[in-house]
Each structure stands twice: as structure tokens, then as C-alpha cells.
Symmetry: C2
Subunit: 194 residues, 2 copies
């Protein structure tokens, strides 16, 4: 059965918008799905580049300890963050990578690996590279059902700059589409619904 | 804002499995999403063929009147049911048709029309025509968020014949994929989350 607590890490280089993505995900869970969530962020010494990360824990129960202990879901938007954080992912956990930016992936079936070219999709289909974070958020939610789509849409709309709403809704929809397509070939049971 | 009551009609010919689809949808809402729902069914004089229909009302409030008054969502798996029931769909409502079986569609922008070849997908991609009802259920849920995916999966698994679970999960996933793809080009705001 579905686990009622989900530990998620969104990782990539600084400047890829994953801090904002973590805030949005947590707000979707807390404000609109009425669940418990915490969001913690950590930066490396580099302002941009490297491996920065944003953690989100979503639960129906109170969350005692606000740091991820063993990840259920790891999103990596660059190779450096994948190399750094893969060990924190539990066996059987879900690894979601930007397939255009991560070439060296784990072999075997220890993890459920989903490869989606987030940055290329953001650039080629939505027209703006900077919405790769929102495309990936749509994919994370679409693959895991960790928040409802309605809540995620509301949280995105509240947080993104005025004027960019249609762009970001399109980015989110592209992410959901990729996730839904991936689930046909590589089924994943829905996690706890929000 | 999202409406908290949703009136849905699943229509097609007898034998397309829409009675079961209605039961599954209502059970997903009631048993697993903990919302209120009613399911009513009506058959024409013909045991098979013609235009039969299954109605589902999903609401967060008590449902006083168990029949649809003005449809928010109309699914049609054949032309006959489309011709018969289109007038019951509210302006701005969502019309979802089997594009392989419905050729004569309403023109203009009175309705939001989504065309998906459910029967062809069931046959060609899942390998069994009889799961067209489950493909269409995935699309209805994916387009409207009327129930959570987790709940719908559970309801399907509970109701389908033993041994056909993987087939039906695949059918559902194909329906979700088609819906998610359609929402990129033709955005639709999520309805009330379950």
C-alpha cells in the first residue's frame, strides 16, 4: 500500500530554479491539499553551478524531523547532483533525471529510473529554458501523485512572476504529459493521494 | 474557481462497458477519495447497440437529486449517443469523444471538445478492444481530475475480472497519457481536487 510519508529531493545546479520548485511543491501540499509538508534548502559554496538541492517531505502525519533521511524520490537536473546524491535514494526509489544533462546513469534495477529531457522540452516546446524547473515539477507530481494537479497549478500560479502564468501552465502540462507517457511503459503505482 | 459538484455522463452503445465504468468512477470517489457520489444507469430498449448511458455525480456536499440536470462532462463512445445527449451538456462543458467512432462533431466553441481514439487505442496498444471503457475512464479522470489516480486505480482493480489487472492498469495509463497530452495543447483548469 501507499506510504503516507514521502521524501523528495530536487537537485541540480544553482540557477535552475529548484529552490522555487521546492517551495511551490510544499505549498501545494500544505495550502491546497491540506497535508503536512516541510521544505528545506541547501546551497553549496558556489552561487551558481555545482549541486544545490531543495528537499520536500510530504506526510499525512506530523513531521518530527525536517530533513530527508532516505529519499523516495530524487530529481536530478545535472550530472553533478546525480553523482552527489544517488546514495541517499532508497532501494526501489524513483530517480528522475534530465536525460539531456545526465549521461552517466546507474545500471541495474536498484532504482526506478525515469529519463525526461526537461531542459530541452522547456526550450523547444515552451520556448524558455528557465521553466525547466516547472516542467520537472509537473513530471514529479505526475509520476508520484504526491500533490493534486489542481493544488500544484494554484501553487505555481501564486509563485511565478506576473505575466508568466500561461508559460508556466504550459510547462507544467508538458511535465505531466511526459510523466503520463512514461507510466504507460513503466508502470508505477500511485502514492498516497493528497 | 473550481466547481464542487461535477455531473458526468458516460455514453455509448450497450456492450461497451460504460455501466461498469460508471460504477468504478463512483466507487473511486466514494470509497477512496471520501467524497459523495451517485451513479445511475439507464438502458435503451436494445440490449446492445444504440445509446446507453451511466451518470455519475461527484460532490463534496450532499447530493439531493441523483440525476444529472446539466452535464459538465459528456463522454461519447459512439455517434448515436453523441447525437442523443449533446443537448444535455452545458455551454462550456467538456465533450470527450471516441474520435474513431464519432465523425459528426459540434462546430464552434460552445463546448471544449477532446477527440481520442479510445477503441483503437484499446485494440492496438493494449491488445483488447474491451478495455476501451477503462482507457476512456483514464482520460476522463486525467482531463478533469474528478478523482485521484490512486483511487481510480484501486477502484478498477477491485472491479475487473481476476487476471485482467495488468491489462486494465495499462488501459488506464494509456487514457491518462492521452489526457495529459491533450491538456498541453488545449489547457483545461483542474476541477476540484478529490
Amino acid at each position: 500500500m501507499a506510504k503516507c510519508k514521502l521524501e523528495i529531493r530536487l537537485a541540480g545546479s544553482g540557477g535552475q530554479g529548484l529552490m522555487l520548485a521546492g517551495i511551490i511543491l510544499a505549498e501545494a501540499a500544505i495550502l491546497y491539499d491540506n497535508r503536512n509538508a516541510v521544505n528545506t534548502q541547501s546551497y553549496g559554496p558556489e552561487a551558481r553551478g555545482g549541486a544545490s538541492q531543495s528537499e520536500v517531505i510530504i506526510s499525512d502525519d506530523e513531521i518530527d524531523f525536517p530533513m530527508c533521511e532516505q529519499l523516495d524520490i530524487l530529481l536530478c537536473l545535472n550530472q553533478q547532483s546525480l553523482d552527489k546524491y544517488l546514495d541517499d535514494l532508497r532501494k526501489g526509489g524513483m530517480l528522475i533525471v534530465d536525460s539531456g544533462l545526465c549521461a552517466d546513469l546507474p545500471e541495474g534495477d536498484e532504482y526506478k529510473v525515469y529519463k525526461i529531457p526537461f531542459t530541452a522540452l522547456a526550450r523547444d516546446e515552451v520556448g524558455k529554458v528557465f521553466v525547466a524547473n516547472i516542467v520537472s515539477l509537473g513530471a514529479v507530481a505526475g509520476l508520484t501523485d504526491c500533490v493534486t494537479r489542481n493544488s500544484l497549478e494554484r501553487a505555481v500560479l501564486t509563485r511565478v512572476p506576473k505575466g508568466t502564468e500561461p508559460l508556466n501552465m504550459k510547462a507544467l502540462a508538458v511535465g505531466y504529459r511526459e510523466a503520463a507517457a512514461a507510466r504507460v511503459d513503466q508502470p508505477v503505482g500511485a502514492t498516497k493521494p493528497a
